[in-house]
Symmetry: C2
Subunit: 393 residues, 2 copies
């Protein structure tokens, strides 16, 4: 007799981003969307941890609420009000351990086996990984340079049974870099309200725009209280603290709190207090300005190198923010197979396209991240990758 | 049309421990099993956070592995070897965000709707809360003063279809305070191995023995690699950091890592680094000695007051460790109903017995915690509770 595992566990696959192939220190890797660690505010956090522990050490070390620290929830609500145009208070915010937990909790809240999730195709592979255990039917909606094509979305809602959730990355879409237009955001929120199907908008990159304007969140157009807005400090502060949030209608949020209570009780009291203390004594927007300048120059460098080195059968977009460039090789090639060769021969890492598609299709695209590589590494890595393509095709 | 929620979400109930009734600051509450915060090592953590951030700030703020920090996994494996008699290495340890997350991940790994979980009856209500969303059939196994009656367990395994998991709190059982005997641990591991049904042993209180010996963990008797051992720093260090672990056979642990990766990516890098730094520079066993002394005197005081004040129709055990005393009122009374009265009239809080039973039975027992109340509060609170009983019955 063997140990019996759940059907749920059989659906779970290792993350394509946390691939052990990328552990080779000789690699120039454009794979993971890791923030540039050189800009982590280490000194400010030494100060903050000192003063926080002196003033409220016991609070930071004791159990705390499942919904999260009231001060940080208030702060997040205010930023959402001022910047993203969302009319909310602290009562609409629950802290999650990274947006990954937030996405998982949305799966738990809304998905039964066989119910439908509509998502961009391709979409963030981590979201697929997090939602797949609930065994939904994933249906891909078409996108253009303005994001989700809302006519197509509405068609899919009508054609598919039991649509429970619409997942989107509206700002600097992962992996394609597309910015959803204001008009499409409005239409998306309207469709969500009309059919009572929650939109889960995932906004890790919203503050990281390098050209062009910052757009209000999809939730800002939500009249029926059905849009869920997920945000995170991981890309604008530091991911090691796992500080993220779900913003939802109060009634839905109460359900999320109960779900979170049962699933993981609460987030780290310490990390929440530390973040509050940092935000009190530092202007995080000054910090974000530095990040923006750095990432902008890395993006510029990567585009410049792609223009300079890539053969003409390689196409790519020019994202106005975020971490990623989506590259398509106009050849009959599977980039999942190509990755092992590229690591071995060019010593360059990337994420192949396939894990970004819910249907796991053979795919001639790949994702490059410019966030955690220096301009020298970008120059060398893109040249090596281009040479590898030229030899290979 | 209404928003559709999952069936899973419909099974989720608010925690009986995080009841808003207990928020009244006038209350003397014996409800939550909160550690005594006066002994939190705040000064040592000020030092540790300074030195840790100076030496490895970037590591603490960046993404890190899903399995957890290698140093802390090594430390946990060594303690399990030396103290609990478990033959493991770091490769058998995964860090979880509190044992609550660990229990949830066990549900995800092993439970399908309708499959069976055998647990002590009563059992830890938080575990029931965490496992209930997976819709198992809970079956209660009988206990005596030596813990689970293994003959009854084997009978239940034969009588029930598709038993997937056996959940137990072997040390200072929550809520009854019972310590499972060495012989029963051995038999439990043998049964687990013989039927290939994983035991999930939950060991938050193992280091908190006040009289008598420390017993090896159930996993130490596990010859087939089927026992899962969950442990936590919450009760011996500080719960705000959410530092806990699953110890399992390497093959099973690899599955847990993939499940964790999809569910919440990783635990806080910061909290892991901080704990490592604290453990390097402090002898946590000196700290645990202080905790033991404090909790022992609080347990003694509570027993003394129960002996002194309670009428003879109130029975209770004398636990040799842990946080809890299990009190039974030999009257036809539902302690869930009694709680609201006790809060109002006696201004004393406790956890009623019902949420500790998987079948949610009407129950004349209640759980008292002595961990986070002073001896003065114990004296006053127990006297008030006893007077309330005397008036009420």
């Amino acid at each position: 007799m063997q140990i019996k595992f759940s059907r749920m566990s059989s659906r779970i696959k290792p993350s394509a981003i946390r691939n052990k192939l990328f552990d080779d220190p000789q690699l120039i890797t454009f794979a993971a969307g890791r923030p540039a660690e050189g800009l982590f505010p280490v000194e400010d956090l030494i100060t903050a941890s000192q003063s926080m522990l002196s003033a409220s050490g016991i609070k930071a070390l004791q159990y705390s609420s499942s919904e999260g620290n009231d001060e940080i929830r208030k702060y997040i609500a205010e930023v959402l009000m001022k910047k993203a145009g969302v009319d909310v208070t602290a009562k609409n915010i629950m802290i999650t351990s990274g947006s990954q937990e937030g996405i998982d909790l949305c799966g738990r809240m809304f998905i039964d086996e066989g119910s439908t999730i509509i998502c961009e195709n391709p979409t963030y592979t981590g979201a697929l990984g997090s939602l797949r255990p609930y065994n939904p039917k994933f249906v891909g909606v078409e996108m253009d340079e303005n994001g989700i094509i809302t006519e197509h979305l509405e068609k899919l809602i009508k054609e598919n049974d039991d649509v429970r959730l619409i997942y989107t990355v509206p700002d600097f879409h992962n992996p394609t870099g597309v910015m959803m237009s204001r008009q499409r955001r409005k239409e998306l929120a309207e469709i969500s309200g009309r059919y009572n199907i929650p939109v889960m908008e995932d906004r890790p990159y919203s503050e990281l725009n390098y050209d062009g304007e910052y757009l209000p969140s999809v939730k800002s157009f939500d009249k029926e209280g059905v849009v869920l807005s997920l945000g995170s400090f991981s890309k604008i502060f530091c991911p090691g603290l796992r500080m993220a949030w779900i913003c939802a209608d109060e009634e839905i949020l109460q359900k999320f709190i109960t779900i979170k209570q049962n699933a993981s009780m609460q987030c780290s009291s310490f990390d929440q207090e530390l973040t509050v203390e940092y935000l009190k004594n530092n202007n995080i927007y000054e910090h974000i300005e530095k990040l923006r300048a750095l990432y902008k120059s890395r993006r510029d460098k990567m585009i410049e190198c792609l223009d300079k080195y890539m053969p003409d059968y390689v196409n790519y977009n020019r994202p106005t923010g975020g971490f990623f460039i989506w590259v398509t090789i106009q050849k009959d090639i599977d980039t999942t197979e190509l990755l092992a060769e590229a690591v071995k021969q060019a010593r360059v890492g990337f994420i192949p396209g396939e894990p970004f598609y819910a249907d796991g299709r053979r795919c001639n695209s790949l994702r490059l991240s410019f966030s955690s590589v220096t301009e020298e590494e970008i120059e060398q890595g893109i040249e090596r990758l281009a040479n590898f393509f030229k030899e290979r095709f």
